[in-house]
């Protein structure tokens, strides 16, 4: 069975060109960039060039880019570093949102245990933060603001440039987790007043386990991982040369094709959204209809549970995702969907389809055909759906349980 991969928000298939570049690099660039001999210096030169490529694509200088082991480390690092800087100046208040990725949320929760106070801004029903809410939350002791660029579950894009301007005006450092956005949306850290930005290569057809942090010159970056003098003494550990090269190649490719890909993927997305809305009763699109990532489709279907939907789709060769963190052993539905104000029972019935430019209209048509059948099948055996049908239990009554 040919698989249809529509879980690109979880991770993407690597670009063939990127694999090629990495394979070459694995053979050639084994020298350690810290070594003074020619093998080492060749690797150092390759890393330098890759850093430059990435900086250009983000609109910054190359000495403002630090490589990390992925988006998670970049988020942890930025937040820990900002917290330390704040603490030194007696500032122990942080502003974020309710629907950040766990890499941000769990780091903030750890800081709360250490005595920091975090204001988690509500997101609207449409999944977009209001700039005015951020403004209201800023206090004299606010150390920094961290708000994601685009949400990983519902794909909504935040008003980053405006939040950045607001922070700049108030002298508050602004970090954004742009893991879902980089390579998919045109980003310029300078123009958008971003002080720190996290990215992760595997979200734009690059390798897993590598990403980076942009940190504007002038902002003190405190070390999180100690050791050798790599990354200008800021992040220790032998540089992952082939993956750094893969990151640059992937970002270059993604940004070159960005406009074309975005238009193509957005068209596919909109067609599938329309199809589902019209073919599946009591289905709900999560997040703003327009202001979302090109590839993101997030739905809730009343009366069914996401994991079984997901596995049924998988049996048809469709690789998608549910919003809920089933594997993590948690019984709670997605905190993102709850942040939108959805009741638990509806949030349980979530499905995320995330497209990429590798997907075809045939694939989308197949999904549009199969999905309603599976939803029906699951609803037929669902006691919740039965109650909804006979009106015994109104959806809203779930909310107040």
């Amino acid at each position: 069975m040919k698989l249809i991969y529509v879980d690109n928000a979880a991770t993407t298939a690597m670009s063939g060109a990127v694999i090629g570049a990495m394979e070459k690099s694995m053979r050639e660039d084994y020298g350690n960039p810290s070594s003074l001999h020619s093998m080492g210096q060749r690797s150092a030169e390759r890393v330098r060039a890759a850093r430059e490529t990435i900086a250009k694509r983000l609109g910054c200088r190359s000495n403002e880019i630090y490589f990390t082991s992925g988006g998670t480390e970049a988020d942890n690092w930025a937040i820990r570093s900002c917290a330390k800087n704040g603490e030194k100046r007696g500032k122990r208040h942080i502003i974020s949102t309710k629907f950040e990725h766990h890499a941000v949320l769990h780091t903030l929760q750890a800081l709360e245990k250490e005595g920091f106070e975090v204001t988690y801004i509500d997101v609207n029903e449409n999944g977009i933060v209001k700039v005015g809410d951020v403004e209201k939350a800023i206090r004299g002791d606010t150390a920094f603001v961290t708000i994601m660029y685009a949400n990983n579950e519902i794909g909504t894009i935040q008003p980053i440039a405006e939040i950045g301007r607001l922070c700049r005006e108030n002298g508050v450092v602004f970090h954004t987790d742009a893991v879902q956005a980089v390579g998919h949306i045109d980003i310029n850290v300078e123009k958008e007043n971003i002080d720190m930005l996290s990215f992760s290569s595997h979200k734009f057809h690059g390798p897993k386990g590598i990403g980076g942090l942009y940190c504007r010159k002038g902002i003190i970056l405190n070390n999180m991982i100690f050791g050798g003098a790599q990354e200008r003494n800021k992040r220790a550990g032998t540089e992952n040369v082939p993956q750094i090269i893969g990151t640059a190649a992937a970002l270059d490719e993604a940004c070159s094709g960005l406009e074309k890909n975005a238009a193509y993927v957005t068209a596919l997305r909109d067609r599938l959204i329309d199809s589902i809305l019209s073919s599946v009763p009591r289905s709900r699109l999560n997040g703003d209809r327009e202001n979302r990532l090109p590839g993101n489709i997030s739905f809730c279907f009343e009366g069914i549970e996401g994991e079984s939907l997901l596995l049924m789709l998988d049996l048809k060769g469709i690789c998608a995702s549910s919003g809920s963190a089933c594997t993590s052993g948690s019984l709670d539905p997605s905190h993102v969907l709850l942040a939108l104000g959805l009741p638990h029972e509806i949030a349980h019935g979530s499905l995320r389809i995330s497209l990429s430019e590798n997907n075809t209209s045939q694939e989308v048509d197949f999904i549009a055909e199969i999905l309603p059948q599976i939803v029906s099948k699951l609803r037929e055996m669902s006691p919740v759906w039965e109650k909804i049908q006979i009106g015994e239990k109104e959806v809203n009554t779930y909310a107040i349980q």
Binding site: E305, S308, C326, G329, L331, S382, P383, V384, W385
Partner: protein
């Protein structure tokens, strides 16, 4: 794979799906908030479970455990159904991931709830101790993690 072959079999081809309009006992446990509801219908003839159906809202293992549990009590004396343990269901399914054990607890409890309902309807005395579950899967969380 996340799930055993047996779980996937019962998930993709669940046995005894449906309702019994003339059920002698109906049990429903779990709640939608927690993400699992199981509803089991039994028909009892001469203290034998002559037919059984289920409806389940929940994940693949919730559906599979419901299916397996109904298979395990079908045609059995009602006394025996009461002895069905979640462990037996898990074993019959060749294991469940740790986070999903609570589904098997729910299945055991759904069966018991249906039997209890049958006993009540027929004013049969029964040992309430056998029915520990309050129907909220929150209490099963401990077992599941």
């Amino acid at each position: 794979m996340l799930y055993s072959k047996e779980v996937m079999d019962h998930f993709t081809n669940p046995r005894n799906v449906g309702k019994l309009e003339d059920a002698d006992g109906v049990g429903e446990v779990g709640n939608a908030k927690c993400g699992d509801i199981m509803k089991i219908y039994i028909k009892v003839d001469n203290e034998i479970i002559s037919d059984v159906k289920f409806n389940t809202f929940g994940c693949a293992s919730a559906i599979a455990t419901s299916s397996m549990a109904t298979e395990m009590i079908k045609g059995k004396p009602i006394e025996e159904a009461l002895k069905l343990t979640n462990k037996a269901v898990v074993e019959a399914l060749n294991g469940l991931p740790p986070a999903k054990i609570h589904c098997s607890v729910l299945a055991e409890e759904a069966v018991k709830a249906a039997v209890a309902n049958y006993y009540s309807k027929n004013s049969i005395e029964y040992d309430k101790e056998l029915f520990g579950c309050d129907g909220c899967c929150g209490s099963c969380k401990i077992a599941g993690e």
